[in-house]
Amino acid sequence: MLKNTHDGYGWLSIVLHWLTALLVFGMFALGLWMVELDFYNPWYKDAPHYHKSVGIVLAVLIGLRLLAKVRQTSPSGLGKSWEQTTAKFVHYTLYVGLSSLFLSGYLISTADGRGIEIFNWATLPSMGEWFANQEDIAGEIHEWLAYSLIALVSVHALAALKHHFIDKDTTLIRIIKPLTQNKDIT
């Protein structure tokens, strides 16, 4: 039940998936909102602080997900061959995109040599300035990547809904609860 099977995902993958989804949407909304805050807004200082802190937690979570992914079997793909190929491509792009998002975010705030405070628990150290105008360039990339990822996530979610309502297969169900052999499968 904890681990993935040939037919479906185990609880570990399911929990990590939805936790990621929650944090990704939360971080996107927080990011959009915080850059528009005016100087005298009470959240002007705290919103970026939480955005960075949660971002680092999310990065660790994605690291664990990737580890969990390589350490256990993945359920076999559903749908037509091109659908399976596309799904795989989208999944890998999401992982690569998220990782690039973490790196670009890290490079914005550490360009001055200061580390990033994680909820005042600990500091992730800076690795210094890697290139000129790092905070501007990394900032542009971070913003662009965030929009692209949300677009890709929409494709990912729409595809799941299409599988559920049109193809009537277990694509969506198996990421909501573990499937037991020859049960629950419609």
Partner: protein
């Protein structure tokens, strides 16, 4: 014919030497800096500067009012020693450096106040807006350097209101203006 040319050449050389000497601002050796300070909430001064700029001036101690100066600043070199703040200041909320990559000052008139004190009037362009400003300037010193050159240096201050340059982001009532502190050393050409 040759003699006339030679005489004309000598004459022009002579007349040039009687004019103010031209100096290139020593940004190469970083013996010049463009610094600013602005109040943070009205409780303290926040300082920073522009790291990349170049310029030249002409100056003659015997005739200071004939001096002139021109400086071009790369706005993306804004640095207040804090990456997140620098990113914000360089964004379109403030300097909008991608749209306005350069700021510049070109003197229009110099007034000699005596004792090495000068009033430099000129056009300052920032954020795409040009206003005339006055830089209160004092000569720090001039003379030979140990490596065969000749240098002259000045310090100057001026104060600009952000709104005059179309920068209207609200930083509070104490932070509507910026003090500029300029240190310039030129190498005689």
């Amino acid at each position: 014919m040759k003699k006339t040319l030679l005489a004309a050449g000598l004459l022009s050389l002579l007349s040039f030497s009687s004019l103010a000497a031209d100096y290139v601002i020593d940004t190469q050796g970083a013996h010049a800096s463009i610094n600013f300070k602005i109040k943070h909430l009205g409780y303290s001064w926040l300082t920073g500067g522009f790291n990349q700029f170049d310029g030249k001036f002409s100056y003659d101690a015997a005739k200071p009012e004939a001096s002139s100066v021109a400086v071009t600043i790369k706005t993306e070199s804004f640095d207040s020693n804090h990456a997140d703040r620098d990113k914000h200041i360089k964004s379109d909320d403030f300097l909008n450096v991608s749209k306005f990559p350069e700021a510049k000052f070109v003197s229009t008139k110099v007034e000699n106040l005596g004792d090495g004190n000068l009033k430099i009037m000129g056009d300052f362009t920032l954020h795409g807006v040009t206003n005339s400003i006055v830089i209160e300037t004092q000569k720090v010193g001039e003379g030979k350097d140990p490596w065969g050159g000749y240098r002259a240096g000045f310090e100057g201050t001026t104060r600009i209101a952000l709104a005059d340059y179309g920068i209207t982001y609200d930083l509070g009532p104490a932070s509507t203006y910026v003090e500029l502190m300029l240190n310039v050393e030129g190498i005689k050409q």
